[in-house]
Amino acid sequence: MQRRVVVTGIGVISAVGHNWCEFWRALREGRSGIGPLEAVDRALLRFQNGAEVRNYIPANHFDEKEIGLLDRFAQFGVVAAREAVSNARIDWTPELREETAIVTGSCVGGQTTEDEGFVNLYRNNIPRVNPLTIPRTMENAAASRISLELGVVGPTYTVSTACSSSNHALGQAFWMVRSGAARMAIAGGSEAVFSLGFLKAWEAMRVVSPDTCRPFSRDRRGLILGEGAAMLVLEPLESAVARGATIYGEIAGFGMSSDAYHITQPSPDGAARAIRGALADGALQPEDIDYINAHGTGTVANDATETVAIRKVFGAHAGRLAVSSTKSMHGHTLGAAGAIEAVATLLALRDGVLPPTVNYNEADPACDLDVVPNVSRRASIEFALSNSFAFGGLNAVIAFRRG
């Protein structure tokens, strides 16, 4: 028997807010968290801006021993999970702990820790690397810590599919809860990208904007990297109603695909197949969808290709859809992107407010969609999609329904 799956807890930490309320307020107001990078020496970089989580004080969340064990990316994951679990008001029992799953996404794990260790080794000639480097660096560090903290002993793992990581994680968790393989799931993703070595690698890719992120705008010049995390608590509708939980919305479908086309260039066919997959999985028609939280990175290639993919799937209905990219505010958080944007999409459905694509200057004929430019918009909507398309050609799309 397939269960309907609802979201009963959400948690976010991002450049535009350290909890989901602050995050959502910023998105509604069209406030961007993009600014001059503080984590690294900007003189060593061609690009200068990022969407950093500012004023984050680890000691406000963790004791010193925990800080030693947890890279920034894992800390973000745990902070978001604590918020999500807390507002889900779960009554833990030994059985529930055994039947709850944790699925997280991360693209690069604790590479800040790795970077520091290797600077010491290669540059500072310190022949020893901190023994905590391995547990801090592993992509599953956040999932493992959340499991330890909550005593959740069910299926726990991490998905790493570049920019689609946390949509894949959420989709897996959704399917587990829908099928009954798990009674509850905590799922999402986290990322901390601001170390010099990693930023230099992005610089060499020549896809990072020298100013800001302007998705779908004709003068867009690339993506802006961001950091943060979001976690969601998923459970069957029936149990959520029975225990009187707050329902933020429903996950209706999940689709994924691989382009099998090019390692970095996107393909509209692959993206379209993932969108169709999410619709089919949720028994939805294209006309049911009112809003898409786009992958919308702000690169020339992604935004034009995503537009083609949306037109392929939705035909004439594409002209009636609202499509926005909240990456213009919280940046591209790679492995956390799907989860952060899932929260934005759920709250858009719940409150009937479409978050805008900010920094938008000029219509691009190659991106001829209603991108909700610069200002949020009231719209009573029932179904929405959230797209994630990764380097490597791996696509994951989730369909949401108003709760």
Partner: protein, 90 residues
Amino acid sequence: MSNEELTERVRGIIAATQHVAKEKIAADSTFQELGIDSLDGINILFAVESEFNINIPDDAAQNIRSVRDVVDGIAKLIDAGQGGAAAVRA
């Protein structure tokens, strides 16, 4: 460094990066003719930057679509004072 010398070095860099014979790369070949896609392109620019010790801005990089574009771009940066000893090394 003469334009011919520069072109020779660029042909060599592209040949090495693309793993093809240098003879297949003409001074007037376009990236499209050579089957060089966007990822190959940034990889070539990386090799060029390393070889000549120059920094090619993203905006300039976007308009580089041929062997000639690479050569002209390097010459412009060297003329502007970039590169130092690496740029004149034969």
